[in-house]
């Protein structure tokens, strides 16, 4: 509930025409001012109460906290022993059991690096270099092994939350430059390049993500020369990158359109050529304008990576599902896993959403 409270407390979310603060001593009028208002309040409170009763009953009162599957089956509430028994599988999939400290370290390192990178003050070339030269190689070595005496773990054994993070983060990091290039192609004055850009963007945006995932997993092997096979994980990753790039391109296009033409003309009059104008004048202004919608897009893609389940990759949602289908727990833990997964996705998405609103405020208060 604290999550919701912080979201409500955010001024950008609440209406600008919210009722003026009620005079002191008459705070009740906002809730019970008119008969209609009182009715709405009572109905809403009733709904909240009924839902809370249902939820608390299932989550806590009727729930089993310790015990065996058989004990769980006897009660009607939630079965929490399922989660604790399956926790390591849910988080890490088929990653070798005794090596699971590696994905755990990788995940913590990744989250820490993300939190540091979220502070606008540290943004700059140094941060980018740190990610490319330090963070990503360390993450890769931790996951894949092969160096410093770490055993090699093939990508087929990767799974769970680290896989979800990797697919969404690497996907978006690679899609961003590609999307910017596509946006520039779409805005280009050269007709052939513009047509290529528009075709790519519209084709990718016109089809569902799972069709692109299908293409990457089923069709792509047919297009590969004999003897060359590409790892399934990489194929899905490429599909996500291409898909995200088309959407990023449209957002960046909005930013490009919002930069006044005079900026380009000024650049021309200074004798700069196209790439200099774009890199030094137009893109910095355009990208700054579209950071909030980009963050919103990132949230959407973090959720969309769940679709790799459909082509048989063991992401977080898939490890949860397979854990629930374990013969030992089947038919007992029907909802617990989904509820847990929903909470995990909710927390990460809501945090990113709050961050997006923070950025919106930040850029509104700075003067450049």
């Amino acid at each position: 509930m604290t999550q919701i409270d912080t979201l409500i407390g955010d001024p950008s979310l609440t209406s600008q025409r919210e009722a003026p603060p009620a005079p002191k001593g008459r705070w009740l009028s906002a809730y019970f001012g008119t008969p209609g208002n009182a009715l709405i309040t009572i109905l809403c409170l009733g709904t909240i109460f009924a839902l809370a009763k249902l939820a608390i009953g299932w989550l806590f009162i009727d729930a089993t906290f310790v015990g065996t599957p058989a004990e769980c089956k006897a009660t009607i509430g939630a079965c929490w022993p399922f989660l604790s028994a399956k926790m390591r599988y849910i988080f890490f999939g088929f990653y070798p059991f005794e090596e699971q400290w590696r994905p755990l370290t990788a995940m913590l390192l990744f989250l820490g690096a993300c939190i540091v990178s979220m502070v606008p003050r540290v943004w700059g070339r140094g941060l980018l270099i740190a990610w490319i030269a330090v963070v990503l190689p360390v993450l890769y070595v931790l996951m894949a092994g092969g160096y410093f005496g770490l055993t090699v773990v093939p990508t087929t054994q990767w799974g769970g939350l680290p896989l979800s993070f990797m697919l969404s983060f690497i996907g978006l990091a690679c899609a961003l430059p590609l999307g910017i290039a596509l946006a520039l192609a779409r805005a280009s004055s050269l007709p052939a390049i513009r047509i290529l850009g528009v075709s790519f963007i519209e084709i990718v945006r016109g089809v569902p993500l799972i069709s692109i995932l299908f293409m990457a997993t089923v069709m792509l092997p047919l297009f590969m020369p004999n003897g060359i096979t590409i790892d399934k994980l990489i194929r899905a990753q490429v599909a996500i990158i291409l898909f995200a790039a088309a959407y990023i391109a449209e957002i960046v296009r909005g930013g490009l359109q919002a930069v006044p033409k005079g900026q380009v003309e000024a650049g021309h009059s200074l004798g700069l050529h196209y790439w200099q104008i774009m890199r030094k004048i137009v893109l910095p202004q355009a990208l700054k304008k579209v950071i909030p919608p980009l963050v919103s897009l990132f949230i959407g893609f973090f959720q969309d990576t769940t679709l790799v389940t459909i082509v048989g990759l063991l992401d977080f949602l898939d490890t949860v599902r397979t854990a629930m289908r374990d013969p030992e727990w089947q038919g007992i833990a029907v909802l617990e896993g989904y509820v847990f997964a929903a909470v995990v996705y909710f927390v990460f998405s809501a945090l990113m959403g709050a961050y997006s609103r923070f950025l919106e405020r930040y850029f509104r208060t700075t003067h450049d």
């Binding site: 919701i4 409500i8 709405i40």
Partner: protein, 382 residues
């Protein structure tokens, strides 16, 4: 001066290189694919569409038998996709409009409840919700053998809701025509009376006259056409229910998931649209003595609609594409039917090309309309 420094020539050069690269990649992929297919003895082309499908589709919006062609099966998939996305879009819009207005309510309890609803839906992946609804339906309702009889002929079980279906012996077409004529007549009459009121100031009972205009053709059809109907009442056998109209859990779960996700998006779009209408409009309407509800309906919503429509179209596009998640819970939409065909015939490239083509065709159509609209309303620069 070398030719490369001429801006025009350089522009041509870039374009030739870009197009050449794309063609080269396409050609390499095409030739390796045809070589691979020839080696694996997979026939190419769309001839397989005329072959007999041979598989069962559990839910069909148009008539289909396993003896029909594969082409027909794909049509069934398209019809199922359109059916579920259309229904979800309509229901989600109605529901989302209410939630969006509730979000703006002066009542803090209501607006916060609606905020919690929107946040809960937008921050959890749609696929997770689909699986959740599906397993909820499957696990909470009893198996078919112990189906609950809610009303005579209405059975609820974990294979869905079965209820009596109407069978039209004759007169169906006449009835549909009468309803359509009635709608057109009622709209026309209401418009005409509205215009008259503006001109002459006469206040007539518009709603009553419009209702009469709607009912007249219906009464005519009932009197003139020979309408006969029989009920197809489901019966509970030893292992399964036979007859009746079957509302399957896959369809319900998909429709529920899509509708809720549409409603959350529509709610946010509506809220943003309403908030974008300037405050003075509210004040002016209040000064005229309009109530809050009437202000919303007569003054604010018509103006907000201009801002609402483009993102709304996007939401409809998204629900149309998201209906492809049906494959995760087994509702036979276009993607799932194509997937079945792919597994049976081995013709992956053609199957994927067909369903991507269908999605693309419909999406591009909507996208073109959107871009035209966007260009029309966009601010003109020098």
């Amino acid at each position: 001066m070398p030719l490369f420094y001429d801006a025009r020539i350089r522009a041509y050069l870039y374009q030739v290189i870009a197009v050449g690269l794309v063609l080269l990649v396409a050609w390499v992929m095409f030739s390796t694919a045809s070589a691979n297919l020839a080696k694996q003895d997979i026939a190419t082309g769309f001839g397989f569409l005329a072959r007999q499908a041979g598989f069962v589709i559990t839910e069909t919006a148009i008539t289909y038998e396993p003896t029909d062609t594969i082409g027909r099966a794909i049509l069934v998939g398209i019809a199922n996709t359109v059916k579920v996305s259309l229904l979800a879009a309509i229901l989600g819009t109605i529901f989302g409009l209410l939630v969006g207005i509730g979000r703006l309510s002066h009542n803090p309890v209501l607006s916060r409840l609606m905020l919690a609803y929107v946040e809960a839906l937008r921050n959890v992946p749609l696929l997770l919700y689909l699986l959740l609804w599906y397993s909820l339906i499957i696990s909470t309702f009893p198996p078919v053998k112990q189906a609950i009889q809610m009303l005579p002929g209405v059975f609820l079980s974990n294979s869905g809701l079965v209820m009596p279906a109407l069978h039209w012996e004759s007169g169906f077409a006449a009835l549909v025509t009468a309803i359509l004529v009635g709608i057109v007549a009622a709209t026309f009459v209401a418009r005409m009376l509205g215009r008259q009121r503006v001109v002459s100031g006469k206040d007539r009972p518009v709603a009553l006259i419009a209702t009469v205009a709607f009912l007249l053709p219906l009464v005519a059809a009932l009197l003139l056409a020979n309408i006969s109907v029989t009920w197809d009442v489901p019966e509970l056998g030893r292992f399964r229910l036979s007859g009746g109209y079957h509302l399957r859990p896959e369809f319900v779960a998909l429709l529920l998931g899509l509708t809720l996700s549409v409603s959350a998006n529509v709610a946010e779009i509506v809220r943003a649209g309403i908030q974008a209408v300037s405050k003075g409009q509210w004040e002016a309407a209040t000064a005229l003595g309009l109530s809050r509800a009437r202000t919303l309906k007569l003054v604010i919503l018509p103006q907000a609609l201009r801002i609402i429509i483009p993102p709304l179209t996007n939401t409809y596009l998204t629900v149309f594409k998201n209906s492809s998640l049906a494959i995760a819970i087994g509702y036979p939409d276009l993607v799932m039917v194509s997937n079945t065909i792919m597994n049976q015939t081995g013709q992956a490239i053609e199957s994927i090309a067909i369903f991507m083509g269908v999605y693309l065709g419909l999406s591009i159509l909507i996208s073109l309309v959107m871009n035209w609209y966007n260009a029309k309303v966009a601010l003109r620069e020098r």
